[in-house]
Homo-oligomer: 341 residues x 2
Amino acid sequence: MSLSTDEKKRSRATIDDVAKLAGVSNATVSRVFNRTNLVTPKTTERVRAAIIKLNYRPQAAAQVLANQKSNTIGLLLSEIGGDFFTPMLRGIESQANAAGYGLLIYATQKERLLSSPLGEHNTDGLLVFVDSLADSELARFKQIGFPVVLIHRSSPPGLQIPSVTIENKNGTRRLMAHLIEVHHYRRIAFLTGQEGHEDAQRRELGYREALAAHNIPFDPQLVAPGQFNREIAQTSAETWLRDGVEFEALFTCDDEAAIGVLAAYKRAGVRVPEDVAVVGFDDINLMRYITPALTTVRAPVELVGKTATQQLVRLIAGEELAGVTLLPTELIIRRSCGCSP
Amino acid sequence: MSLSTDEKKRSRATIDDVAKLAGVSNATVSRVFNRTNLVTPKTTERVRAAIIKLNYRPQAAAQVLANQKSNTIGLLLSEIGGDFFTPMLRGIESQANAAGYGLLIYATQKERLLSSPLGEHNTDGLLVFVDSLADSELARFKQIGFPVVLIHRSSPPGLQIPSVTIENKNGTRRLMAHLIEVHHYRRIAFLTGQEGHEDAQRRELGYREALAAHNIPFDPQLVAPGQFNREIAQTSAETWLRDGVEFEALFTCDDEAAIGVLAAYKRAGVRVPEDVAVVGFDDINLMRYITPALTTVRAPVELVGKTATQQLVRLIAGEELAGVTLLPTELIIRRSCGCSP
DNA sequence: GTATATACTGTAAGCGGTTACAAAAACCGC
DNA sequence: GCGGTTTTTGTAACCGCTTACAGTATATAC
């Protein structure tokens, strides 16, 4: 028995193996594989047969090297979690796929950022979510012309990196207008979002602008930390309760915080919305099932993923584009604001 | 001004550029980069400086080709969605990362399976979730010795592919035991899960075994389709209601179906757990917040991801392993079964 | 049947790294 | 200062695929 044959077999067949078996050159095999219609039907058939016989699949790395194109885009996250994650990823993956790209995911715990050569890796472009990449790296990518699109975060000043996010301010304005104009609430409290998070900043701005627009004075007493976090929000609500701070409505900056607040109120016997209205932002899956169903602003998460990916694909194709794409949010009225249904 | 220099600059620096700038050979640069301690401190310093100056990063594809190792694992899914997805992905990503691997994700809409050369792509191994890959491809991978680990699905007969899943049957047995022994329910209905889905089959088996173990005859009247789907489950519950089929408790095979059932009962004015107990399986995020809080079985989703990835990494490292790894589930008692808290 | 245009196919040079091996340099003891 | 080690560095082959260019076979025209 021939050991050498066996040994050949054990590792994957290469294009040369196919060529030899089919009695042609590797160039011809390559042509067959890439559907350049330059090969005789008869030869094509022979090559096809050899490919099937050997179970040949081209080795991606070699193609990438030869083509200088990986057909892969990368997604950088600081953390995998949260209810928005799945739909966003779905949007990204489906769009990437439709455009013929694979998707490579990195969750970059902050520390790793500096030490690792991460980044372009094996990708043609990068989707950068929130704070998953340092400004300095962003600058480097810009400098070497490596395609990047930012998600839920705008470009650092100077670099003009395209970015996709949602109408945080407008959404908040509409939500606040509902509370003020429909329900005639005047004392509306606010739970801030995560430190340094752009969505949080824009929502806070919307809150303040809405107050001003309705001639309601801003009261710092009615602002406490929420951090996009259940526990912290719960603590803040409990503190208000203990201190006897009163208000008619509470806007929690995001839905997670609203859940924490609801837990605090439930425990304290405060009724929502009878005693106080509670509204959030994002419309995560839970909100419609929780009791009371939560009034919130729907963030088009999947669309964000889709749009960002489209832009990245165009960027990779060589189009110039920049600026912020703002996707529309939608006011979702349920029970927790005091509406009946 | 020298255009040629500019043109060089615009595309990424290669190892040769660095070598030239540092006045050494590319081999030396490679050695510096890979921390083989074979280079003089002085030379190392010169090379380092050149690397920084040129912002050099090795091109992954070239490394992959030269090393025959991509340091990337692939995850194959049929669909991105469901509440389990995020924690599973987190488990996979964190573990992959800890082992020095990147993560490539494919969502393979069924049709794509055949046409695309997908698969090993640029990965050292593959995590295959449920039904995301045809048996024939699995066989091919087995044949060429390409590392694969299955998740929530066992190996096709013959191929001995390692697989990681959860204690579906035992979890169900414990849940049923609780209903029967603690609450003394005897008429317990069952909503089946998704056709051909192994988790569903094992849970059904657990249901039947539990009945048998307690001398409760199996009643086909008390079984209806659930499909892991809210709407279908809701319809089934409504049909039972209309037909006047009575039972004391309902096990829905998964939590999604339980949500559908709850919706049907709410609309019909049936009280849970007073009129009928409802229990699910999985313990998705919602379950604790919904009213009534749902008794269910917790599936260790993140751990499944972690474990599968660990096994894959060992497989890639050349270890032989096979067989099914069964991760323990945990009974989570809340209100919907009739318990008080 | 020959000249010429046309259609296929093969040859070989990259793509950007790694690494075995060879060559050169530095070090050592005497 | 010399031969013999030991370190450090360079040379060149190779990883598997693509593709410009050259070469050969086939078809077309006369």
